[in-house]
């Protein structure tokens, strides 16, 4: 099943966050899922109040697939945002 979630970057730290029922979470598993486009629009509008609260930067909708209870973004860009760079980091 496909759906939409809302993602943004944390204002202070910059990390990737997802809009959840009780605020923002770094864990995609916590994300609130909209099943159709109308619900997705509503979800995005709700998330925007958090922008006014100064928590996150530029929220937007991300299309996801729900497979065996796990949310997985459809686009590679969002998969990389979710998992982090696909390459080992020099300083790591």
């Amino acid at each position: 099943m496909n759906g939409w979630i809302v993602s943004a970057n944390d204002l202070v730290v910059g990390t990737v966050v997802y809009y959840a029922a009780d605020g923002w979470s770094g864990d995609i598993g916590d994300a609130a899922v909209a099943a159709d486009r109308i619900a997705a629009k509503k979800l995005l509008a709700a998330s925007e109040s958090a922008v006014r609260d100064n928590r996150v930067v530029e929220p937007y909708l991300v299309e996801v697939e729900l497979c065996r209870g796990k949310l997985s973004p459809l686009r590679l860009r969002e998969q990389l945002r979710h998992r982090g760079p696909s390459v080992a980091q020099a300083g790591g």
């Binding site: 204002l11 202070v12 922008v51 990389l80 300083g91």
Partner: protein, 557 residues
């Protein structure tokens, strides 16, 4: 090296304080993102896929050991222990937190560094030949002129909101190591008929979605006229450059649309009209000399004259005795203008590594080695390597051992393993595909010691989108990552070149899926090896035979 005067230091300090206030207001909710974004960009702060990114300027690619240590400290304290050197001779930190950035900028200001002119539609940080001041083929060190341009362009009120960003590169040598023909303005020093050094002025080069080689609009310009002339160019651009369409806003489009001759005529007219007002205010020969003194070689004349050839002899003996060292020397050493010395390129391209990345420890190690062997001076090259410009021939072997201990002795500068690559979709929010994994794969495939020596001089450049930060248009082999139906695919161009014979590569045919691109590049290289004549590099062979044999090898099957 150039030292900031009190005025510079104060400007940078005030800028840090100002940005500290802006960040505080943003975090307190007094500034919206819309209001804050242009302010953060003016201070080099981007928001990328996973985090903020801070781009720090390295004016004309020159760093002191002290500055490099500070960059290492920032990497270790505020980031994930590494930094990424870019094709614009800058360094980027990929993981700083917004709340820390004012402190980072404060720390940078202690060593005369900042992030000004690293973003926005202004005249960006000026770039130069990384061998400047030391190269055997050089007419004069271009950095005094670069420094003049820096002073003139920083916060220049007339040029703070240009139609688009504006990049200037300068070389003082006939061999172009600064890619001047693919910059908005390229300045190439040469002598006129009377033997006086001056600059050829090239305008309208660039990469991105409309790659172009710059056109010469002035064959020779005296050094002390340079700022007035640049001002005339900027005024013509500011007046006529398009502001209605981002994709047509660079000066290259204006030069292309009205023609180089017409553009030159307008610049000359503006130059004559404004000359009375501005030329007088510009630095005279004494001021140029004053600045030039800061760039005087750190090696005294007495030492230069005293060279008895012993150092070179010692180096030859060490090379003869140690094959690994000899291989590294072949790739890494360049001829120096002072006898008994060498310019050393430190490759940041270990096979399978991330091009341009250096850990905090590696930065500290290079800083220490530069202090011991290169008068405390380091350069950053647009090939994303570091350069030690003042090394005694007698000490090259010892330096190499130090580099080897820090994992910095890859013997591939200028060879197939020396891949130029932007961050791509692993970091960059504008990317359409990943570039680093392709570089890593090719580095391993082509970067074997014997293989890359056999291939010889070859530039491979990879960009993760059409913005071309990896300079793929001017790679002998260029690779552009795109997205097609949700999947990464890669377009290959051949025949590009970033030097004095600059050329934009030809798109060779349909693109390749991620899993095919390694084989395709291998096939291109294999075709070259088959068709080359004795002594011919890849680009020589390509220019002789054209694209056909490569197309056939790639697509005929």
């Amino acid at each position: 090296m150039y030292r900031y005067d009190e005025f510079d230091a104060q400007v940078v300090r005030e800028r840090v304080a100002q940005f500290r206030g802006q960040v505080a207001r943003r975090l307190a909710g007094e500034l919206s993102e819309e209001e804050f974004k242009p302010l953060r960009l003016m201070n080099g702060v981007y928001l990328q896929l996973h985090a903020y990114m801070l781009r720090v300027a390295v004016p004309y690619g020159t760093l002191s050991s002290r500055q490099l240590r500070k960059l290492a400290h920032i990497a270790a304290t505020y980031d994930k222990n590494y930094g990424h050197f870019t094709t614009r001779q800058n360094i980027q930190f990929n993981w700083p937190q917004l709340r820390d950035i004012p402190d980072i900028l404060g720390e940078l200001s202690e060593v005369e560094m900042h992030a000004i002119q690293t973003s926005g539609n202004c005249i960006r940080n000026v770039t130069a030949d990384p061998f400047a001041g030391a190269a055997a083929d050089e007419i004069e060190d271009p950095r005094p002129i670069c420094e003049l341009i820096r002073q003139w362009s920083t916060f220049h009120p007339e040029f703070t909101f240009l139609p688009r960003k504006f990049k200037i590169a300068v070389t003082g040598a006939p061999k172009d190591r600064a890619a001047i023909k693919v910059h908005d303005i390229g300045l190439r020093m040469h002598r006129n008929a009377a033997g006086a050094p001056g600059f050829e002025v090239v305008v309208g080069g660039g990469q991105g979605r409309t790659p172009m080689i710059g056109k010469t609009i002035r064959r020779w310009l005296a050094r002390n006229e340079i700022l007035a002339y640049l001002e005339a160019i900027m005024r013509v651009y500011n007046l006529h450059g398009r502001r209605d369409n981002k994709y047509k806003a660079r000066v290259k489009i204006l030069v292309h649309e009205i023609g180089a001759e017409q553009f030159a005529a307008q610049v000359e007219r503006e130059y004559e009209n404004s000359a009375g007002q501005t030329r007088k205010a510009l630095p005279d020969a004494d001021e140029i000399r004053r600045i030039a003194r800061h760039f005087a070689p750190p090696i005294g004349e007495a030492e230069a004259k005293a060279d008895d050839g012993e150092g070179a002899k010692k180096l030859r003996a060490a090379r003869a005795a140690d094959g690994g060292f000899d291989l590294w020397c072949r790739a890494s050493l360049a001829a120096h203008k002072i006898p008994g010395h060498a310019i050393v390129t430190v490759s940041l391209k270990p096979a399978g590594g991330i091009p341009g990345d250096a850990t905090a420890e590696q930065m500290r190690s290079v800083a220490g080695l530069a202090e011991r062997f290169s008068h405390g001076e380091v350069r950053v090259s647009h090939e994303q390597n570091l350069v030690l410009p003042w090394v005694r021939a007698a000490e090259v072997h010892e330096l190499w051992r130090g580099l080897r201990d820090s994992g910095l002795a890859a013997a591939n500068a200028g060879l197939a393993g020396d891949i130029i690559c932007c961050p791509g979709l692993d970091y960059c929010t504008l990317a359409t595909a990943r570039s680093i994994p392709v570089a890593q794969q090719l580095g391993v495939r082509l970067g074997g010691t014997k293989r890359q020596r056999d291939i010889g001089g070859l530039s491979i450049n990879i960009s993760g989108c059409i913005n071309a930060c990896g300079h793929h248009h001017v790679g002998n082999i260029g690779i552009l990552g795109l997205e097609k139906k949700g999947r990464e695919f890669y377009q290959i161009t051949l025949g590009g070149s970033a030097d004095e014979n600059a050329a934009i590569g030809d798109i060779i045919g349909p693109g390749f899926a991620a899993e095919e691109v390694g084989d395709a590049v291998d096939m291109v290289v294999g075709t070259y090896l088959k068709i080359r004549r004795a002594g011919e590099t890849f680009i020589d062979a390509y220019r002789r035979v054209g694209a056909e044999p490569f197309k056939e090898a790639l697509y005929a099957a």
